[in-house]
Symmetry: C2
Subunit: 199 residues, 2 copies
């Protein structure tokens, strides 16, 4: 199984992470208390005790804060891509290379049950956030494609495999009633997908 | 292969379609000439020679006009769902039931080469439109899930199959350099997906 990169631990990096976490926590509290549409960047910055300029060094807008976790996931997929995944000769092999990566992503996005459920509730209420989530998912598939093809897998095989891996993840996401179920549901989807050609 | 429903042809319906087409054509021209971000609903309504109120009877906002074709696709998938797709006992059977439906969708979204290419160019320029496109694609997968499960396919099988069908469509979309290639590229992706698990 590919090994995720160690987090950078320089003093500046630690400080950067603390500020980021403070902004995320402030936004989470305000979104839950007042509703996403009634919270401004100014509100979030004030609650996190940072200036608006600082806020915008970390996030493009308030929607980006909602997807902070997905951004981390994209970063870790990028790290995996840099490490190399190995070359697959068939779509089956490529899906098998991606399976542990996607299950690792499932584990990461569900480390905090309460956060996962707040996130799901927020998305259920806001179609524009669902659109952003769908785009992030597609970006993850694109990065998985890149990770495979930069390791020597033919681009056509890489792209189909990455989109099938995304299909398994989306299926897991829809069936997981709780954060804890996501990894198992996604694993079951991979098992079913990898039986497609067998009768 | 499932048969798409015949368009309604009452006088009112024909008139409705003409107005809708006029709005779409006006928006297309203005987006191409001035850029998506510089065109307002008022501009589009004026060019189409309708009032703003009429515009909003047809479209929720200017972004919806960009996805008018996808909305038609969603409508035709809904019609298929109402007709029933047949019950599948395995994910493989379910993917095979969806294949002709998705290939039919490919044919429909590529009937007008120039329109397809304008649409692709517009999306490439605007991340917020890419997000909306990703959401529409996910909605199509949800409707395909519904079409299968209302025909008696187990929901878990239906959802995985629909997402795999979407994976094939997305792969086709990325590989099709021209509108004409979409159906063939998507068909090739289905063939590869239906070989998964064979070595």
């Amino acid at each position: 199984m590919p090994h995720p990169s160690q987090p950078a631990t320089s003093l500046m990096e630690r400080k950067r992470r603390l500020v980021e976490q403070r902004i995320i926590a402030a936004a989470d509290e305000l979104f839950s208390a007042n509703g996403f549409e009634n919270v401004s960047v100014t509100d979030i910055a004030a609650r996190a005790d940072v200036g608006r300029t600082t806020f915008f060094r970390y996030f493009g807008d308030k929607t980006e804060v909602v997807f902070a976790r997905e951004r981390e996931v994209l970063d870790s997929v990028a790290t995996l891509a840099a490490d190399g995944l190995g070359a697959a000769l068939t779509t089956t092999e490529a899906v098998e290379l991606l399976r542990p990566v996607v299950l690792e992503i499932c584990d990461r996005v569900t480390t905090d049950d309460a956060e996962y459920e707040r996130h799901s509730r927020l998305l259920a209420l806001h179609p524009e956030l669902q659109a952003r989530a769908a785009l992030k998912a597609q970006q993850i598939a694109d990065m998985l494609t890149g990770a495979l093809s930069s390791s020597g897998t033919e681009e056509r095989i890489a792209m189909l495999a990455a989109n099938i891996a995304l299909a398994c993840y989306q299926t897991g996401l829809r069936h997981a009633a709780t954060a804890g179920a996501l990894t198992d549901e996604t694993r079951a989807a991979f098992e079913a997908a990898l039986m497609l050609g067998r009768r």
